[in-house]
């Protein structure tokens, strides 16, 4: 019989630093950096501080994400956004549970520009076999991992699923986009998840993580991490979801004026 281990308490600090070579005249950033409590993750405390900008509004979007709009002013030379908090995570073998909304489940069958299945995705789907829906989704995860080698810096952030397949290399974002494109093509509602993963051997993580969730009748949403070859466990903290990276990204920005924008991200995830 399965024995659920004790929940794990993770401390997270995510620092995003934007530096402008020449000052911007005005800019906006949409943040999706606040994790929510679900039945397997409990947000104990969380805060986001913004230096060099101001918080304009906050709302919950149609994927149930907490969204904050940040503005920054003329003469701003940089912004520092620090999100930090503690989250207690239990293991439920990747099963997130029934669909809550507010978006209807059918919305997650919509292809986006980044997740439109083309010849590459359809070829992958032909390799997928399995008895149950769950089997086939796990098989899909494996097929994608074989087709796209994980390689940091190999892909561009605006690549589509087909772009990544054509290159045969990519990061978690690319793996996830391909998974979404194929899963939707196979008839599953599927969504992008951005969040954190505590890699056991280190505190400083390379980047924010991304994985996919597909909706399976009877189980609800189930997570699949192509890059690590597993379904999420208690080292994963879900932060935001969407149809693709564009809707779940930690930061989406728009700058008016200002030349050259440099970004640095520092993420620490540690077990307390």
């Amino acid at each position: 019989m399965d024995h659920d281990p004790m929940p794990m308490r993770l401390f997270i600090r995510h620092t995003t630093r934007y530096t402008f070579d020449t000052p911007a005249s005005h800019g906006l950033q949409q943040l999706r950096k606040t994790p929510k409590s679900t039945h397997h993750q409990q947000v104990l405390h969380w805060r986001t501080d913004v230096q060099g900008g101001r918080r304009e509004v906050a709302f919950e979007d149609h994927h149930n994400n907490v969204v904050e709009l940040i503005s920054f002013e003329r003469e701003a030379e940089g912004i520092v956004i620090v999100s930090e908090g503690e989250v207690e995570v239990g293991d439920n073998h990747g099963i997130v549970g029934r669909h809550i909304g507010p978006a209807p489940l059918w919305l997650y069958r919509r292809a986006t520009d980044r997740t439109r299945a083309g010849a590459g995705c359809r070829a992958l789907i032909r390799e997928v076999a399995g008895e149950t829906e769950l089997d086939r989704l796990h098989a899909l995860r494996e097929v994608i991992a074989r087709a796209i080698t994980f390689e940091i810096g190999a892909s561009l952030s605006d690549w589509s699923a087909e772009d990544a397949l054509a290159a045969g290399r990519g990061v978690c974002q690319d793996h996830t986009h391909v998974f979404l494109a194929c899963a939707r093509e196979m008839g599953f509602p599927a969504r992008y998840v951005s969040g954190y993963l505590m890699l056991d051997d280190r505190v400083e993580q390379d980047a924010a993580h991304a994985w996919a969730e597909a909706h399976v009748d009877g189980l609800g949403w189930v997570g699949f991490d192509v890059s690590n070859g597993i379904s999420p466990d208690m080292r994963y903290v879900r932060v935001a979801t969407g149809l693709d990276y564009g809707e779940a990204a930690p930061v989406t920005g728009l700058t008016i004026g200002g030349g050259g924008e440099r970004l640095s991200v520092q993420i620490e995830v540690a077990q307390q």
Binding site: H26, L28, Q30, E56, V57, A58, F59, E60, D61, H62, V67, L69, S71, G101, P102, A103, P104, W106, L107, R109, R110, T252, L254, I256
Partner: protein, 501 residues
Amino acid sequence: MARRGTKRDFGMDLSTWSGSNRAMSGTVNETGNFDEMWGRDGALRAPYERFQSWFDGEDPKNLRAKQREAEELFRLTGITFNVYGRAEAEERLIPFDIIPRIISGREWQRLSRGIEQRVRAINAFLHDIYHRQEIIRAGRIPQEMIARNDAFLPQMIGVAPPGGIYTHIVGIDLVRTNDDDFFVLEDNARTPSGVSYMLENRETMLQMFPELFSRNRVQPVQNYPRMLRQSLAACAPSGSGGRPCVAVLTPGIYNSAYFEHAFLADQMGVELVEGHDLRVVDGRVAMRTTRGYKPIDVLYRRVDDDFLDALNFNPDSALGVPGIMDVYRAGGITIANAPGTGIADDKAIYSYMPEIVEFYTGERPILKNVPTWRCSEPEALTYVLDHLDELVVKEVHGSGGYGMLIGPAASKKELAAFRRKLRARPGHYIAQPTLSLSTVPIFTNKGLAPRHVDLRPFVLVSPEGINITPGGLTRVALKKGSLVVNSSQGGGTKDTWVLED
């Protein structure tokens, strides 16, 4: 860019219908047609009695001079508003016909009950479709009609617009076929245009024929800008205070309806703004003034959804305000009409309007829909294939009259080609019969002559109620037998009277 260009027209309007109309010209039996002045049999209809006795006493030469004078007045209006130079005023001039279209108070009462019912249903539908989607759960609209519809705006899911209003301004396009039969052609639930013509037409008639208005008790339309402002103000977010700040957002001078935007802002006494005048400040959308930024409570936007917010929608748009959707979703501003209302006036949804009206009002629809065969349904497809030469077939998601078939005007070859298309992708098409549209006389060199018309009444919606301006904009196909009322294709306008009974 949406609608930028120099073509004078009322947006999209009847473009899809006009295609079918074009083909029908010449095929309609003019003598058997319903004329709103002379009926079917040449007996003067009651609403026109006083007008007719006045007209009989007028010298045609004098009227011809008046017609020219009217056109000069329109030119001057454009110039007065500093919108156009003389040459451009000439360019934007839409022909005006001095013979009013007259509707009795009784006819109007019935019509306005139908419009009100339809507008209530549209707002209830929009709320439902962006929340629980009961109408889909109840099986009254197939899920794919929404799921596969580009007009459905996911960013509106779960959003509560201030006051619960989605369509603050609606222009419902109607045609008439008989004494009591009005059909809805299109529910314009996005940003209906043309109301400035309604106002200008009345102003011109009042100036030129004051005696007509003392003989007839015509219900006023001139308070529309005041009602519009009042109605918009009543939709302000809670906490906006006693006198909410209203502004009109225009894409700018290159937009074909710029004159109307400027005119309405002026008549309402509110600011006319462009995207670059606005930005997010202190959690609100604010406009730049000489004394700093002033927050806007209600933005009457004449910019399409896609161009409204470069942060949330089309990133290349410079016409909107980045972040306005965030402020909207946080409850900090009213956008009129609400984003995402296009799902209610979509062609694919149109054929479900009778079901929509019944579902949300529990009543039978008062206004008729043009009967529509959805070719996705096998029985409908069989009928359409059998009667293709009598029907107009349209693409569900097409617009502008492209990719449509006008059965009565099509050649055998065209019909055969379209049959193949229909069989291959039936779900892409709907079909409608051709209607025998009513006529109203226009003033010609040879006296009165019947011409086909449509009607766009303007409806204001707020938590305080629904206000329908009596009359609306009558568009008339000036060419004999033509059914094309588009201003870019030989259409003109008329003053529309609703009489006090």
